[in-house]
């Protein structure tokens, strides 16, 4: 009975459990592979796919080409290789989408948990959430960028500065839904018996929150995360459109989509590529979320 070796709980075993369950979820696997592919593509793609160095005059002659061997995704109105631009754009868009989503999720979850768990904070925090919900997004972003752009650019350089600012601005304006959902969940979760049980053994609030409450809000947070990525990518393009985003020669998927819009009728592929990339990202995040939710739930895992 005391088979110690078999009984030794490996610290990693739980993670491995999650992973092995995750692997059986077809959608999640599809999502992970697709997202992984996209990330790898934008990370190393630009080193592998180096477009020919063309002079401006040569390039202009090749503008608005359809897909070909030479230009797998065609060229844009200035004869630039769309594949190369898509890859470069993906770096920013994926980074912005994922990082801003993470900020929104982390912040939203944090606020939601505080509001839900500590009665006294509930009122003020929820009014704050109301306020953020009610604030007009565009002027808010304008003011934020105006106030901080130069300061941040001065510290970490214009591109990284723009990135930080955009990611932060988007994150800080999109946490409200998460906070509301999480708060609602926490309100019921904190009445659960096992939370009371944790208190009865003298656990501190931070442990109760981390170990007993947080894992149970994963599922709604995952939904919010999925929506968050799409929103962040699109918001970034709107920001660029208002001149608040990245330097104008810095492609992002949102901007490519926006730019391509003028050409949609004549060269539909100009919008298809960025649109496809954004949709794929969102779809894969959605499926990963589904899979993760299932995998994190030992009740489902057992089946």
């Amino acid at each position: 009975m005391t088979d110690a070796s078999a009984a030794q709980p490996k610290p990693s075993s739980q993670l491995r459990d999650v992973w092995s369950q995750f692997r059986t979820h077809k959608g999640a696997l599809f999502g992970l592979i697709t997202l992984g592919f996209l990330i790898v593509a934008v990370l190393i793609g630009p080193y592998l796919w180096i477009p020919e160095k063309l002079s401006v005059a040569e390039a202009i002659k090749l503008k608005n080409q359809g897909p070909s061997l030479r230009f797998p995704l065609g060229t844009d109105q200035l004869g630039r290789d769309m594949l190369a631009r898509m890859l470069l754009a993906g770096r920013v868009s994926l980074a912005v989408g994922l990082v801003a989503m993470v900020i929104a999720i982390v912040f939203g979850t944090f606020i939601g948990i505080l509001a839900g768990y500590f009665r006294r904070l509930d009122g003020p925090l929820m009014r704050l959430t109301d306020m953020f919900l009610a604030l007009p997004l565009i002027p808010l972003l304008l003011v934020m960028v105006m106030l901080f752009r130069d300061r941040i650019a001065g510290i970490i350089g214009p591109e990284l500065g723009a990135f930080t600012l955009i990611v932060f601005a988007i994150g800080i304006t999109s946490w409200m839904a998460t906070a509301r959902i999480v708060r609602g969940e926490v309100l019921t979760l904190k009445e659960r018996e096992y939370v009371l049980a944790a208190r009865s053994i003298g656990a501190k609030p931070n442990r109760i929150i981390l170990r007993h409450i947080l894992p149970n809000v994963v599922s709604p947070v995952m939904v919010a995360a999925t929506l968050g990525v799409a929103e962040a990518i699109i918001t970034e393009s709107v920001l660029s459109f208002l001149g608040l985003g990245f330097p104008p020669d810095f492609p992002t998927w949102g901007r490519l989509l926006f730019d391509g819009l003028q050409y949609m009728q004549v060269y539909p592929e100009r919008v298809v590529w960025p649109g496809l990339a954004i949709s794929l990202t969102v779809l894969s995040v959605n499926y990963i979320g589904d899979g993760l939710r299932d995998a994190l739930d030992p009740r489902i895992r057992g089946r």
Partner: protein, 349 residues
């Protein structure tokens, strides 16, 4: 109760737990749910006090308020020398290892996302600075004590049967070597054979470790089996507090009597011969209890005085405390003889 010389480990004095009701535009405090309304008892070290009563009468609330899982409205709860009701948060946290709780619902009180090892070692994480190995060693030790196979360490709660789950809850409660455990209906949700396993385990542990229990249950036969003394609660107050042998032989309070008569014996012969008192009507709301005796709305032996004056818990026989006007001199004769008469309100079968 037998060795009256042993000092009580737990003393509860006039414990009150009122849940406030707020109404109106400005959230005015307009009333209270008097879940527990002045309860006093004590428990001798190494013994078990049974706590029985109707659903919703405040049994769990007593247990939880005693361990400061709720902030009691009034009263003193002295456990091992400290007044738990008044401890500062940090002191309370450090006091927790001496007093633990086994929860009513084994499924609900275990975090479904934690493994057995995590659950049982959580109190150790919180109160000790042991190494991982040392904690694991203790977890194994506890699992042996409660009879869980060591191979189960990495299992999740849903992978256990009800009885096993309850054992996890007990192991968790034992982890810090407490002196006092509140067992809140630890067997209600289990099937018969598993109930027996759990009860035996509790008994074994009491014997080995000298534990003190408050055993909350509505299974009266189990209480009889386990407890030396039994408190019968009704609507937030104690109706009768007697040694278990006396209570089961001859309940004094009319409610205790009705309760005992309702128990089903697993014996068809006996069942056919039994007289049971079926109470009529519903339990009054604890937010708005009757003016006099709490039980007066349903009592088969109700008298006029019951509707106006709250009876207090008084010792009517050696070791037996009852809160009933039948036994107070003011209400006329000592109720002993009347206790056997059936009033028209109760049905006799």
């Amino acid at each position: 109760m037998l060795d009256a010389g042993a000092p009580p480990l737990v003393q509860v004095e006039d414990l009150k737990m009122h849940f406030p009701i707020y109404t109106g535009i400005f959230r005015k405090h307009t009333g209270d749910v008097k879940a527990v309304d002045g309860v006093s008892f004590d428990i001798t070290a190494g013994q078990t006090l049974g706590l029985v009563g109707e659903s919703g009468c405040g049994k769990s609330t007593v247990g939880r308020a005693m361990l400061r899982l709720y902030e009691p409205t009034a009263g003193r709860v002295i456990i091992d020398g400290d007044d738990v009701a008044k401890l500062a948060p940090e002191a309370l946290r450090r006091k927790r290892p001496t007093m633990q709780m086994v929860f009513q619902d084994p499924q609900a009180s275990l975090n479904p996302r934690m493994t057995l090892a995590d659950i049982v070692s959580e109190p150790l994480d919180e109160h000790t600075d042991w190494t991982r190995d040392r904690k694991l060693e203790r977890v194994y030790e506890l699992m042996d004590q409660v009879g869980l196979n060591r191979r189960f360490v990495n299992r999740f709660p849903h992978e256990f049967s009800g009885g096993q789950r309850q054992r996890i809850g007990i192991a968790r409660a034992l982890a810090l070597k407490p002196r006092f455990i509140v067992c809140d209906e630890p067997i209600a949700a289990l099937d018969v054979s598993i109930q027996a396993q759990v009860v035996n385990l509790l008994e074994d542990l009491q014997e080995k470790l000298g534990l003190t229990y408050l055993f909350i249950s509505h299974d009266l036969s189990m209480v009889r089996h386990l407890a030396q003394r039994v408190a019968v609660m009704y609507l937030g107050r104690i109706a009768e507090l007697s040694p278990s042998r006396d209570l089961y032989a001859r309940p004094l309070h009319p409610y205790a009597e009705a309760l005992l008569s309702a128990v089903n014996e697993p014996d068809p012969e006996l069942a056919a011969r039994r007289n049971r008192i079926i109470l009529k009507g519903d339990v009054p709301s604890p937010a708005n209890p009757p003016k006099g005796c709490n039980f007066c709305t349903r009592c088969p032996k109700v008298m006029d005085i019951c509707r106006n004056v709250k009876p207090s818990l008084a010792e009517v026989e050696p070791g037996r405390l009852v809160a009933c006007h039948l036994y107070t001199p003011a209400a006329g004769s000592t109720g002993g003889s009347e206790a056997n008469e059936r009033n028209q309100q109760g049905e006799t079968r």
